[in-house]
């Protein structure tokens, strides 16, 4: 049963000792009520508190970890159904499928291709998380062989897809210290697989046929003492997966239904490449903790990784980029200089449109707390004085020989003032960045 923060607070020691990491017991109680902290974090909790709080003290969706060291992927601890309510916490872990039925050369090429599925974006690198070896051969020896090869050729964490306890034991003996995901337990093999997962301390995927069977199976497995689980309702068609994912998330968060208080795993294994990608898009938006994809084509994986990045950004916070001089291409000393704001969307539109115009240029994004041109102007965050200051401190004067600054069309009203207070000649650019190309042809 879910308790509110005050009810939880009454059961805490009220010493404000900070041992849980929160400033006060009340703050800790509120975190627990929100499903974001567990009573385990309080070393001084009374037995009464532990008994009474029980399920209420645990997060609505358990934290599950796959992998070790800097390859650790965290799943779960989600608190909402819609990302506009609060940030989705742990991005979907993307695993790429490798069948153990391929010949050795194809197998190796595929693993190397997976190692290359990393992309630079906003100055950071983003990529896939898991190499998912599937025991299609039905041969335990072959499975272990391929798992070993993955461990040897890739630093990515393996996921071990087999229902055969013998194959899994062999694989875990080979790569267990990398803390792979084992998938998975079903109503027939769950006792053996739960014992294995406990022995090696690894997370366990649980697959059932439908939600009713899944809830029952999870209860049996948690009674055996394993709580690092990843759930699969068995659905594979996109419409049913969407329905199951939604109901699992609702039951976990709105009802604190314990059997579904774990992250989920989805499979995009549609034979059609494009449909597979579009299904992956749905699963990423709709709560998949792990997503196994059967493709090594960068043209397919790049949009998916980009979408995951977009879904898991904080919706409350405009993304700001650092206010400094940016180069598009290799600008010379006569290259145009564009002023804009440091709202990343605004900045990347301007950058993209300058790139499309095949022009080298400098961009100066003024720090407007990550708001767009018109919003910043309306809020007084983009003033002529601020622009003057940025022109002087950014160092742009040392990088070009001219003094002509292109400002967004929406700031045309500032032209006279900027001409007066800076030593730059102001050119009013277009209101929309998409016509920067024709603007440059006519004006530069």
């Amino acid at each position: 049963m879910a308790l509110n923060g005050l009810a939880i607070y009454k059961l805490l020691p009220k010493t404000n000792c900070k041992d849980c990491g929160q400033a006060t017991c009340l703050a800790f109680a509120m975190q627990m009520a929100a499903g974001k902290a567990s009573l385990d974090a309080c070393p001084h909790a009374s037995e009464e508190a532990m008994e009474t709080l029980g399920a209420a003290s645990e997060p609505a969706i358990a934290l599950v970890e796959i992998g070790t060291g800097d390859k650790t992927v965290k799943l779960g601890n989600e608190t909402v159904l819609f990302r506009h309510d609060k940030r989705f916490v742990h991005p979907t872990a993307i695993g790429i499928l490798v069948s153990d039925r391929l010949d050795d050369a194809t197998e190796e090429a595929r693993i190397q291709a997976i190692n290359g599925l990393f992309f630079d974006r906003l100055g950071e690198t983003y990529g896939v998380d898991l190499v998912a070896v599937r025991n299609d051969s039905g041969d335990a020896g072959r499975f272990v062989e391929v798992v070993r090869k993955v461990a040897e050729l890739s630093t990515l964490t393996p996921a071990l897809l087999s229902e055969d306890p013998t194959a899994l034991r062999g694989a875990l003996e080979a790569v267990g210290e990398r803390k792979p995901l084992v998938y998975g337990a079903n109503p027939e093999n769950y006792e053996a697989l739960t014992a294995l997962a406990k022995e090696f301390g690894v997370p366990l995927g649980v697959r059932a046929d439908g939600l009713d069977e899944l809830a029952g199976l999870v209860e049996k497995i948690t009674k055996l003492g394993h709580k690092q689980l990843v759930l699969d309702s068995g659905a594979r068609a996109v419409k049913q997966v969407l329905a199951d994912q939604t109901l699992i998330r609702r039951l976990a968060i709105m009802k604190r239904f314990r059997p579904f208080g774990f992250p989920t795993i989805c499979f995009a294994d549609n034979n059609d490449g494009v449909q597979r990608l579009l299904d992956s898009v749905v699963y990423t938006a709709k709560y998949a903790g792990v997503l196994i994809v059967n493709s090594v084509d960068p043209a397919e994986v790049l949009p998916l990784i980009t979408w995951r990045l977009n879904v898991y950004t904080d919706p409350q916070k405009p993304i700001a980029i650092e206010a400094k001089v940016y180069e598009v291409g290799t600008p010379g000393r006569d290259a145009p200089v564009f002023l804009t704001t440091n709202f990343s969307l605004t900045y990347y539109c301007v950058m993209g449109d300058i790139e499309s115009a095949r022009t080298a240029a400098y961009i100066l994004p003024v720090d407007t707390d990550g708001t767009s041109v018109l919003t910043a102007w309306a809020a007084g965050k983009l003033t002529p004085e601020k622009i003057k200051n940025f022109l002087e401190t950014s160092g742009i004067s040392d990088r070009v020989d001219h003094r002509r600054l292109i400002i967004p069309g929406g700031l045309a009203v500032m032209t006279a003032k900027l001409n007066e207070i800076t030593d730059w000649e102001i050119l009013v650019g277009p209101r929309e960045s998409c016509v920067i190309g024709s603007f440059l042809r006519d004006n530069w």
Binding site: R83, A299, L302, N310, L374
Partner: protein, 311 residues
């Protein structure tokens, strides 16, 4: 062990927007639940997929996009007929030549093109101006008059020019696209202003000015999702269907355009995938009308919609 159904009891529903002429009308909206979800009872409508025609040869389209259309790019009428052959539910005519920097064509010339396209197709016509407020205010009422009787969807009406656009559409029996800059409150405000002019809410589609995949799509996603849930909770001024210009946004970005990103895989599918993914994600948020530029993106999107509708 039986699992309890956790249902949301939605009390609101989206307005129903119908465009085109009998017997080729298309209807969107009327949804009384979340997209593609049978869990809560209620109904959801199939999204409408449209293809874009420009009224002059496109500038700067990458070969991977222009190549899909071949020889029709110089002829908006043939281009529109090709869209119908390729399975578009509706045709979008973008009057880009009205743009002061792209030809500055007159309202009368634009209206003549629009009329010729409308006459040549047996699908509903959606007309977009050139996205310059003042010029659209001059062009769109003339286009609306020329298209009298065709029951079109015309835009983009903004907070700057909605009065003339709405007046033209009211006088000649069309619906209006209300465009606002990625802000749910401004969007709602514009709907209020337009309905204050006696435009029925059943004749409005909202355009939230989406950003494409990788470039602000998450803002559009959450705004559309908030509109959908707001409408289902009973906010009538958020209850009009959403239209997304996925094609022209997706093809602007470098991932769709570039021909020199070997680490990104082959160019041929990437732009199409960028467009299709942009659409598929916003369909989950609850948008109703999707405007494409590449026919393969429309085809792939429609295939997934078949699956999501349970067909």
């Amino acid at each position: 062990m039986g699992v309890e159904l956790v249902q949301e009891r939605w009390k609101g529903k989206l307005y129903t927007l119908t465009i085109g002429r009998e017997p080729n009308q298309v209807t969107v909206g009327g949804d009384s639940t979340l997209p593609f979800l049978d869990l809560d009872g209620g109904t959801y409508s199939r999204p409408v997929s449209a293809l874009t025609v420009l009224d002059q040869r496109p500038e700067n389209w990458p070969d991977t996009l222009a190549g899909a259309w071949g020889d029709v790019l110089d002829d908006p009428v043939k281009w529109a007929q090709r869209c119908v052959e390729l399975g578009a539910d509706a045709v979008v005519l973008r009057l880009i030549s009205a743009h002061p920097e792209r030809g500055d064509r007159s309202p009368a010339e634009c209206a003549a093109t629009a009329k010729a396209v409308a006459e040549a197709i047996d699908r509903p016509l959606i007309v977009l101006g050139c996205s310059v407020d003042e010029k659209d205010a001059a062009v769109l009422p003339v286009v609306a008059e020329a298209l009298n009787g065709y029951n079109c969807l015309i835009g983009q009406a903004t907070s700057e020019n909605y009065k003339t656009v709405v007046a033209g559409c009211l006088a000649h029996g069309h619906s209006v696209i209300a465009t606002s800059p990625l802000d749910i409150n401004l969007a709602k405000q514009l709907n209020i202003l337009m309905t204050d002019m006696n435009l029925p809410p059943e004749r409005i589609a909202m355009d939230p000015s989406i950003g494409p995949l990788g470039y602000g799509i998450e803002y559009a996603y959450s705004i559309i999702e908030r509109k959908r849930t707001g409408a289902l909770l009973g906010d009538r001024m958020l209850a009009v269907p959403v239209i997304c210009l996925v094609g022209e946004e997706a093809w602007k970005v470098k991932e769709a355009q570039t021909t020199d990103g070997p680490e990104w895989g082959a160019d041929e599918p990437r732009g199409v995938l960028w467009e299709a993914v942009t659409a598929a994600s916003l369909a989950q948020a609850g948008a109703s009308i999707f405007v494409f530029q590449h026919p393969e993106a429309l085809r792939q999107f429609s295939l997934q919609i078949d699956a999501l509708m349970g067909k």
